[in-house]
Amino acid sequence: MNQLPQTLLLLTLLGYVLGVVASLVCLRAEKAANFCGFGIACLAALTGIAASITGLLTGATTAHESVQILPSLIPYIRFSIRLDPLSLFFTLLVSLVGLAIAIYSLGYNRQFFGRKNLGVFGAFFNSVLMATTLVFLADNAFFFLIAWELMALSTYFLVSFEHEKEESRNAGVLYFVMSHIGTGCLILGFLLLFQASGGYGFEGFHAVGVTMAAGPRNAAFILFLVGFGVKAGVIPLHIWLPVAHPAAPSNVSAMMSGVLIKTGIYGLIRVYFDFMGAPPNWWGVTILTIGTISAVLGVLYALMEHDLKRLLAYHSIENIGIILMGLGAALMFLHTGHPLLASLALIAGLYHTINHAVFKALLFLGAGAVVHATHTRNMEEMGGLVKRMPQTAFCFLVGAVAISALPPLNGFVSEWLTYQSLLQGFGTTSSLIRLMFPLGGAMLALTGALAAACFVKAYGITFLAQPRSEHAACAHEAGAPEVAGQFLLTAVCVVLGLFPTQFVRLLDPVTSQLAGFALSTQLSQANGLVLAGAKATGGSVSTLGLALMAVCLLPVPLGLWWVFARETTVRRGPTWDCGLQGLTPRMEYTATGFSKPIRMIFKALFRPRREVQREYDFSPYFAKNLRFESHVEEVFQTRIYRPLNWLVWRVSRRMRALQAGSLQAYLIYIFVTLVLLLMFAL
């Protein structure tokens, strides 16, 4: 039918390939490499946006067409892409975020001049974009896995791009190992589907789950949950995430946190809603539970961080949890046969997916600028940056408000939709299960409030008050491209926040493909000004209206000012210092101190270890100097992964004894094998 999206998409992929080639061609000339590699990436991403939007608007049919892009080589492989709404939606996501990041990188990479090889960087950046796009578009499990592994591989190289640092190397290894284990699960899952459908084509997989026996079906469910869960960073499979995201260069972190972990979400949606058929109840329950746990624990661990990028990484875990809550609810509705509510929940999940992509990328870009300016990731050594890097500070503030799910920005909208679907889910079943919905909602509220607390801390300690270190004191605003990239995402945040009804229209084909309902008309009231729940009476919200109303109310305080306080003056003075000789940065409230109440309240979870060393001459009340350390250990790290790792090493070292170097021993192995075979095999 419509060739336009197709051709545009092929152009996009071609563009990424071109980017790889170009950056490799100008390997020696780093400026040229930077310009070519990321410039081309920008263009390709733009094409991708155009392609996906046109596709979603015009080709709003669930019938996908599949396009062969390479001749097939080996049985079962077909290098074909599909253009169905879900793929197009996620392509939109990757292109949008990719565009902003590419623009940002044009400036950000200047710090690498003379130090690193930007040609390689650009090549891998483009290949990640290409591989991710292919993951979203692949129409064949084999092809999907190829793209998936390519993505993991390029990401590995990007994570350990600054490989002089031990940290980056280890982070890369951890990431790749976890990702590969996940891939193993995916392969097995696809093999199960392959067993049922007899092929690797996605069109063959469609609703194949209903034909499968319960055992393999549930096995496939769990395998996919683990496989995609690792990539998405679901607790308890998340350990690579807070290690790998900070270690990478910030534009890469933005890429990973914004886009790459969404491939996991894409996979889950694709498999559970497209392939698996009507789900049993416990699937949805599992997903909802896991989502809730991830959300709450993610934000709690984030609160404990004073490494800015690690904090953001933990927030990614939290947001993935929120997305999963939407998906889980949708699955439960599909089970109880409420496709309409299922579509609502799905919309909530997808909406939050793109929201998180946008504001998390924005935050990481801001963090990148800050880290570059202050030469540290430790918030305790930042501060006062709002004066020194105002634009970055503004964008970061917008991102913070958005991620804390505060009106009128996009985070609030998607969480509002999630609340709506949860609340209306209460009526769908009469079993005790339905208590999960409001409880999940309560946990979501807790998450939101904690996130707000966390970002008050992050923003306040990083950008406000006095600079806490020399570097912070003499920090400078990032260059034009960086700021441009951030402002682009900021604008998207605002638009997604203020015009939800218009955006929901893009989701219509997706929901009608996966859950059988197109809701945008139901969801938009008062000709698009107001976003309503699935039921007309279910409640409604209008971020735009609230924003306008706030503007209308602005005259009240201003008027009061004009009436009463016209002739008052404003004086700049020192902060009240209890009569000391001025406040020094050391007297400011620290990030650790800020999160202490939470740490104390959730002591059982964090198990904080604190070491205090005092030195005093005469009285314990006048310490000469005092050293305070406080560590929080992740329970999964200490309880699961470390022992496992230890076990593997132990066993391997033991096994080396087999190859102890004695020829006699080797002869005995062969001898015993022979004798055993003679005795039993005959």
Binding site: G384, Q466, G539, P557, W576, G593
Partner: protein, 313 residues
């Protein structure tokens, strides 16, 4: 549903006018219960007037965030107020958002309040913000759960609809759901409005104060806006409490019975204020790390309320 401009204006005025009075009344009654004469009930108006007249001293470390916060706090409180039905069942802005939007708006205000506390680089501000955000965080689930209980019963998150549902024929005051949810919300109210036993609005002792600590660096009209915003928020929460659980007397149609509804509304507010006063005078302030116990009690109450909707039907 079109927007009724007069209603918006009237309710705004009502909010602005009534909020300081409630604060004053509570102060006055507390004093009387403690055998002091106490300030007159209109004292807050005088304070506000005076604050507005004063020159401002702004910390040299503070940035634009510091000056921006008071407006946000004030306006979000007002907006939130426009989402709750005060004297009519139909809240003027109910189309623009239900109880979720209300909670969100209050959270937005709190967010900037806390930032404003951190901005001047004083340790008190940071401490205040930290505690404020912590308490809010643990109060949130209880609040939401209680609200959900009502919302589920009404099948809507729109407060006007909830009120209408409770106002409906099958309304009985003493259904366990109502009682439990009310108790939960009341505790949350104490926490959110910085009342004893969570926070002591009257103290300026560094180590105990929460809300005041954040305002320490504010002066002049900013302080006025902050105080006013705080009292509006308190009024809004009280209104939510009384009108959701005891909606009788609310005017269904705009002009008719406004007077009566106004009277009943005032009476209900006074009762709640009395409750608050009694609680404040009979309780000592809790240690910060005991507050979670209180709020988790609220959470449990709300959970029970939810369970009761599930059991008794």
């Amino acid at each position: 549903m079109n927007l009724d401009l007069t209603a918006i204006v009237l309710q705004t005025v009502l909010l602005l006018a009534l909020a300081p009075l409630i604060t004053g009344i509570i102060k006055n009654w507390k004093a009387r219960l403690q055998n002091r004469r106490g300030p007159p009930v209109w004292q807050p108006y005088l304070d506000l007037r005076k604050f507005f007249g004063k020159d401002m001293v702004i910390s040299e470390h503070a940035s634009w965030v510091f000056s921006f916060s008071p407006y946000v706090v004030f306006i979000t409180a007002l907006l939130a107020g426009l989402l709750v039905p005060m004297v009519t069942v139909q809240a003027p802005l109910s189309l623009f958002g239900g109880v979720l939007a209300l909670v969100g708006l209050l959270a937005l205000g709190r967010f900037f309040l806390a930032l404003g506390g951190l901005d001047p680089a004083s340790a008190f501000g940071g401490m205040g913000s930290s505690r404020e955000m912590t308490i809010a965080a643990i109060a949130e689930p209880a609040l939401m759960l209680a609200v959900f209980t009502m919302a589920i019963a009404a099948g809507s998150t729109d407060i006007s609809r909830i009120v209408a549902a409770t106002l409906g024929p099958d309304w009985n005051l003493l259904s366990p759901m109502h009682v439990l949810a009310f108790a939960a919300l009341f505790i949350v109210l104490l926490a959110e409005t910085g009342r004893l036993p969570v926070d002591n609005p009257a103290t300026h002792l560094e180590l105990t104060m929460i809300h005041e600590a954040m305002l320490l660096e504010y002066s002049g009209r900013y302080l006025a806006l902050m105080e006013w915003g705080a009292s509006i928020k308190q009024l809004v929460l009280m209104t939510l409490l009384v009108n959701v659980f005891f909606p009788f007397g609310l005017a269904v149609a705009a002009p008719a019975g406004l007077g009566f509804s106004l009277l009943t509304y005032g009476a209900k507010l006074l009762v709640v204020a009395g409750f608050v006063v009694i609680v404040e005078t009979t309780n000592a302030k809790l240690r910060l790390f005991r507050v979670p116990d209180l709020l988790s009690a609220a959470f449990v109450l709300a959970g029970l309320a939810l369970l009761s909707t599930f059991l008794f039907q």
